[in-house]
Symmetry: C2
Subunit: 379 residues, 2 copies
């Protein structure tokens, strides 16, 4: 039931539009996938996520495994029913959280990775097989292989060792995935993750290895939070090798300029906590017509004193529910008064910003005008 | 533009249905008015409040005076525009918060009441004139006189002194209200508040005094949080004297049994933080069909371990957005995971419970079946 159709190719880049078909409906790509870490997009209801126009969310296996437990989610009918979201869901493998939340305290060997719960310090082991089993219990539409995550700037031996382990784990993940899929007829898609740090030969080797396995899609790993120029190079090396027809997901990315650059290289989906996390500390996104630009990272901080009596909406060129109904002064007041509605309204606005950005990117690709749009946004 | 029409009288009690017409639309009574202390119903957007079916909210003058300031709200176009709510709004006088949040630290004399801000400890003075001016700046549809609040169980001399001062303040409030209303043509309704503690002669004297002044409606003060039997008596004394045709608002009340009892005495509107405040600590209301009863205060605590794998909605006989889409297990999970959505969903459910209760009470009155409904609920 899972397949990917490319619907249009941009004339001057590798960007493309597509349709990612899943058992819970289709996703128009390129798409931004909001993060629902603990089976909830922070501060918004599924009805609001749908109202904004999103067609999928991404949940974190690590968090749901620890609380409420993936077996509990399974007993309750799986993630879709559990969180009241009947459209496509992605889950990550849990690897990233194990490595990042444990900050050097986890123990990796060929078998898997041992870590302590950030909730109660209890010890746990993730193996490739277990990560797949957990993701099958959760029941998302698109799931990922367990990979060894590391800093983008890790040295060559570290990156090589992690990549080789990632490859062995990818094979084990695929095997486990197939076993269950054949036995129980679970209809999920598994994305294999490319690693290799910042090194050309490793990234190319990893891309070739992952490309050869019969994954339904490809995840591009360990790119986030790094200097932009080198990561763009790394992406180019991988994309040159990876099979054109497979959907590609860039894990943990999106700033506005990253999205333009990576869409141009052929990336289809992105997930990132940026719009939701920033919303909760008062940062709101601005379109280029409203002075959003690379220099101000397309955002302003609504808690700033200069908005105290500002009658204008967050962004006069936005058009979301929030910008149609509330002033900057009101939303600033909600932050100052610590009203929960503050987080709901800024999260809604920021996600609308990304949803509309992706919609305009898709339209631009279809009109062969992505270059013009990118120039307008990143000038 | 303000008037009150009684549309039906119950046959076996003093309950009545009515329509409270305001410049921002009508309110069907008896009605429960959700509290939006700082110009926001905690955890819900105005769109959600409207979706639930509410026709009015009540904001607290004390809080808005201190933050963002009533002049700021006025500059931003008044409360309705400020908070994006275009239906009727009530504001209280600020008196209750001054007396309760300052807990013996405020200084009252005939001029007014001096208090310290709970935000920054700065000193402020509320006089009857100032309370009216602030409420005129905020621009709600229905506003209240400044009264001297005290514990229901205060002794006779204390209650008498507070009542007499409340009466002098009521006259000053009316005078100030009229002056501004005539000068600027502001269309608001002013409710005068009856006091008198637990003493029959004082409550009757206060009811007679407030009834004689040309207020558009009557507020019934200092009833909350007290033993039920005596407060019911106090209400009866007042209602026997107060003019039948004027709308009556009971300040700060709402438990389910209180609402039935006071509706039967002829109370038209209620405001209370109970459903919203309890929601945020995990208490959810249950209808009688779902084992809600006086003994369990019509509620259960969703954070309880027994709901960990409970697939059922909060209340199987509810029908709100939350009960149509989410399980007890999911909402318990959101509380355990401290997800903001937890507070939104339980608040939504609890307010829906009260909105539907009032709707059914109105229907029962119109069908002369309030007694039967009360028996079913309070058995």
């Amino acid at each position: 039931m899972f397949h990917f159709t490319i619907t249009h190719h941009d004339q001057s880049s590798s960007a493309r539009t597509g349709l990612l078909h899943t058992p819970h409906g289709s996703i128009r790509t390129p798409a931004f996938i909001p993060v629902a870490t603990q089976a909830a997009v922070k501060a918004l209801s599924p009805a609001q996520i749908e109202e904004i126009g999103f067609e999928a969310v991404l949940c974190n296996t690590y968090h749901l495994y620890l609380r409420p437990g993936s077996k509990t989610v399974q007993k309750l009918g799986g993630l879709h029913r559990f969180m009241g979201w009947n459209k496509p869901i992605f889950t990550d493998s849990g690897g990233f959280q194990v490595f990042s939340l444990n900050d050097g305290l986890c123990t990796v060997n060929d078998d898997g990775v041992e870590f302590k719960s950030h909730i109660d310090q209890s010890k746990h082991l993730f193996t490739p097989e277990k990560s797949i089993q957990l993701q099958q219990q959760l029941g998302a539409d698109i799931i990922f292989t367990l990979d060894v995550c590391h800093d983008f700037n890790a040295d060559y031996p570290t990156a090589k060792k992690a990549m080789e382990r990632t490859h062995r784990w990818a094979e084990r993940c695929w095997k486990e995935f197939q076993r269950e899929n054949q036995k129980k007829g679970i209809v999920q898609a598994l994305y294999g993750i490319v690693q290799g740090g910042k090194f050309k030969d490793l990234r190319e080797e990893s891309a070739r290895f992952i490309a050869k396995l019969p994954f339904q899609g490809i995840g591009l790993g360990s790119i986030f939070g790094e200097p932009k120029a080198p990561t763009l190079e790394v992406l180019k090396w991988m994309m040159a090798i990876l099979p054109h027809e497979k959907p590609k997901h860039l894990l943990g990315i999106g700033s506005v300029d990253d999205i333009f650059n990576y869409v141009e290289l052929g990336v289809d989906t992105f997930d990132c906590v940026l719009p939701t996390r920033l919303a909760r500390v008062g940062y709101v996104f601005l379109r280029p017509e409203s002075r959003g630009k690379v220099r101000n990272k397309f955002r302003t901080r609504i808690t700033n004193a200069r908005f105290k009596e500002d009658k204008k909406p967050l962004d006069q060129h936005c058009g979301c529910y929030v910008c149609q109904n509330f002033s900057r002064a009101y939303i600033r007041h909600l932050f100052k008064a610590k009203e929960l509605l503050a987080y709901t309204l800024t999260t809604h606005h920021n996600l609308f910003f990304f949803q509309r950005l992706m919609q305009e990117i898709r339209e631009s690709i279809e009109n062969d005008a992505l270059g013009r749009m990118k120039k307008k946004w990143l000038k």
